[in-house]
Amino acid sequence: MIPPLTRPKRKNPMLRTRQALLPPRARSRAALGLTAAAALGRFELQVCSDCDAVQYPPREACHRCLSDRLRWRGQTGLGELLSTTTVHHSHDPFFRERVPWKLGMVRLDVGPTLVVHLHSGCAPPPSRVRVDARLDKSGQGVLLAFPIDEVPNMADDRQLREMTCDPKFRKVLVTDGKTSVGQAVARAVIDAGADLVWVGYAEPWKLVPGLAELGALPQVTLLPLDLSDSRSVKQTAAEIGGKVDILINTAEVHRTEGIASRNGVETARSEMDVNYFGLLRLAQEFGPAMRSRGADGQSSATAWVNLLSIYALCNYPAHGTFSASKAAALSLSQCLRAEMRQGGVRVINVFPGPIDDEWNQALPPPKLSAGSLAKAVIKALKDGVEDVYPGDVAQEWLARWQDSPKVLEREVSL
């Protein structure tokens, strides 16, 4: 029986904050393929294109026929739990302070034997389990064995929580609550059990529907936050930065201009000032405190979510300057991810296709509703993934981009 998570007690301010240690990070290049798939929420193993043998641990040549044509393929993860152990003593500092820690040895139906983290809901061996991949606190792919059937309080498993960013009992900052997306995200985070949601808003004189109602919810505190204003970001961070467990950056400026369609750089500049420089300001002001709280008890700082766009991968010329600003934000978020890793804080990038809002009015469906986008953000937090492509358009864009970025560039600009 997995005990359900309970609200943690108030932190004792006299005690030193526990530093975030990380599980072992080193991986060979081949093994990073597992990490890359886990970042997208997928469990993949190398499969030989010549003889179909499944490989684990990851390697350079097929263990059966020596072919080097090994391709990463999605796995069901079904297999038999052969044996388990509970580690009581570890030389590794991260695990040393987290023992007892359960591990399992699983024989996958497709062949390989895996050493895995063991979800406590698994029945003792011999039993059927389902192996899946997650990112651990170092941001590296690891394998977990889950029970075949759902058990109560699955997500509250202590070991699984070290790899996920569940909003339950946590405090969240949503940087812009004036948009439909921002409001949907704030509400979704509350439904997922967040204790407190700060919702930022800029230009207070510009009234928008929904903000006041959102502010009336008991968990919500509205606060002025203008990502184009360094002082505003600094001030907000000074007030609440030490408490933010999850930061969801929904603020963006979205205009529908290319290069020739608009005279002057003013519009593009305002997009960059929020979409790129706004992220930089947030990262400078909120990053250090979150990094230092990565292991701060049950409600530790755990995730930073950026609302990007599929146009960050490949420019959409009709929204050309917007695309470029999102591409700049994507690059910067990779820098942020590297810096936040020391604190065990996950940086999650969301790449939606066109959202069903006023700036995408001219685009034909399918478009992503704010509610669907918010759901995808919550799922990403609960799964602890890094890269999210919510909705059909985003999934197809990703598939085309992974297949050939140059072909996609042409398809988009035809």
Binding site: S83, H91, F95, P125
Partner: protein, 401 residues
């Protein structure tokens, strides 16, 4: 001695025995828990003691085989200049618990072929306070990618899985493994170089600090610093030097046996035991003592099964039937094994061979097995992922063949 017919039938064309070869000068550099010295110091100490025991000059050593994990960034070649050795045969065998048997096999053929006259076989490692932890992350690519990130640190989890599976499948109990450990501790109390000096009771074994269920403290070896060594030469040379010597009746080695077994319940000895006994012309019942490679007691039990002393799955029953002290019905690890002596890195791969040479030539530093004529030393190790890849064994006889 006539070459056994089984020998060539099983092993193919031209397998040769070791009739004119000898092992002399069993040497131990006393173990310490931690040392500030480098591995090179322990190798040098072993080499000095080999020379002292054999009364040879350094210039007489024209072959060198070294097993070590802590020489980096050096390998055996660095030692030649470091120690002022000029050799015409050189081998580096970083194979942990199997390096003794593997080094022996290489050195025997070198001397037999005339590629070297006197080969020094040395297993040596140092142990600094942070050596073990530091080494774990860089032991193998697979360990780094697929074991280390899971937190057990080293092979403890892999052997916990194995032990648990073995117990569940074959009905072995912790008391069975404890019996082996207690007996080995008893043997160790009679060995001057053992690091463990206190007796061990079964209750202490059962109630010890848990490491990774079902493995507890006394199922695990204690890493330390030290060295073990011997010389390989022709029998003629050994006799000319007046040195007590041991003959090698047969050896075997196998790597990555049974890769499709979901979990390791057997080692390569299953494939090689017929040839091992056939070439030696003996049966398991002729063996007077076995130095198993006891990194965990479950592996000793598996070795007993795979080397034909009992059937697969009957190891626990075998343990219950026998006693394993030097005066027991089936002496195992007569100086205490690495579980009670300590594991000095690759030296542990030589521990069993060196103790076998002592038992068979009456140069005991531990209690002697009465009338020991035939002994077996087993090699095992290199858990690069979830199982020990190396297996090996040597059957030795004392005095005249």
């Amino acid at each position: 001695m006539v070459q056994s017919r089984e020998n060539s039938a099983v092993s193919g064309v031209g397998a040769r025995d070791y009739r004119d070869l000898a092992l002399v000068a069993p040497v131990t550099v006393p173990y310490v828990r931690y040392s500030i010295r480098n591995a090179h110091w322990f190798v040098a100490q072993a080499l000095s003691r080999l020379l002292k025991a054999s009364k040879l000059d350094k210039s007489d050593i024209d072959g060198l085989s070294v097993g070590s994990f802590t020489l980096a960034p050096d390998t055996a070649i660095g030692l030649t200049q470091h120690l002022g050795l000029t050799v015409r045969w050189l081998d580096h065998v970083p194979l942990g618990g199997a390096c003794g048997v593997v080094a022996l096999r290489r050195a025997l053929r070198a001397v037999q072929a005339g590629d070297a006259d006197v080969v020094a076989c040395i297993g040596a490692d140092t142990n600094h306070v942070d050596s073990f932890r530091e080494s774990l992350g860089s032991f193998s690519v697979f360990a780094r990618d697929a074991v280390f990130p899971y937190g057990s640190g080293g092979p403890n989890a892999s052997f916990a899985f194995l032990t648990s599976y073995y117990m569940r499948t074959f009905g072995a109990t912790r008391e069975d493994f404890g019996k082996l450990c207690v007996a080995q501790r008893d043997n160790a109390l009679g060995y001057r170089h053992a690091l463990f000096k206190k007796p061990l009771t079964l209750d202490e074994y059962l109630d010890a600090r848990p490491i990774a269920d079902p493995i507890r403290l006394f199922d695990c070896v204690m890493p330390c610093a030290g060295a073990e060594a011997f010389l390989v030469m022709t029998r003629q040379r050994a006799q000319a030097l007046g040195l007590p010597y041991v003959s090698v009746r047969s050896t075997c080695e196998r790597h990555n046996a049974f890769p499709d077994d979901p979990i390791q319940m057997r080692g390569g000895w299953v494939l090689d035991r017929d040839r091992l006994y056939g070439a030696a012309g003996v049966e398991p019942s002729d063996i007077d003592f076995v130095q198993t490679y006891d990194d965990y007691p479950v592996m000793s039990v598996i070795q007993l099964e795979d080397l034909g002393f009992c059937e697969k799955g009957e190891g626990a029953e075998f343990v219950r039937r026998h006693t394993f002290t030097t005066d027991g019905s089936f002496p195992i690890n007569t100086s205490g094994g690495q579980l009670s002596v300590g594991q000095a890195g690759c030296a542990a791969g030589f521990l069993g061979l060196v103790e076998s040479i002592r038992q068979l030539t009456g140069q005991n530093l531990a209690r002697s097995v009465p009338e020991a004529r035939l002994g077996m030393a087993v090699g095992f190790g290199m858990i690069t992922y979830d199982r020990g890849l190396c297996s090996g064994a040597a059957i030795l006889s004392g005095g005249q063949a």
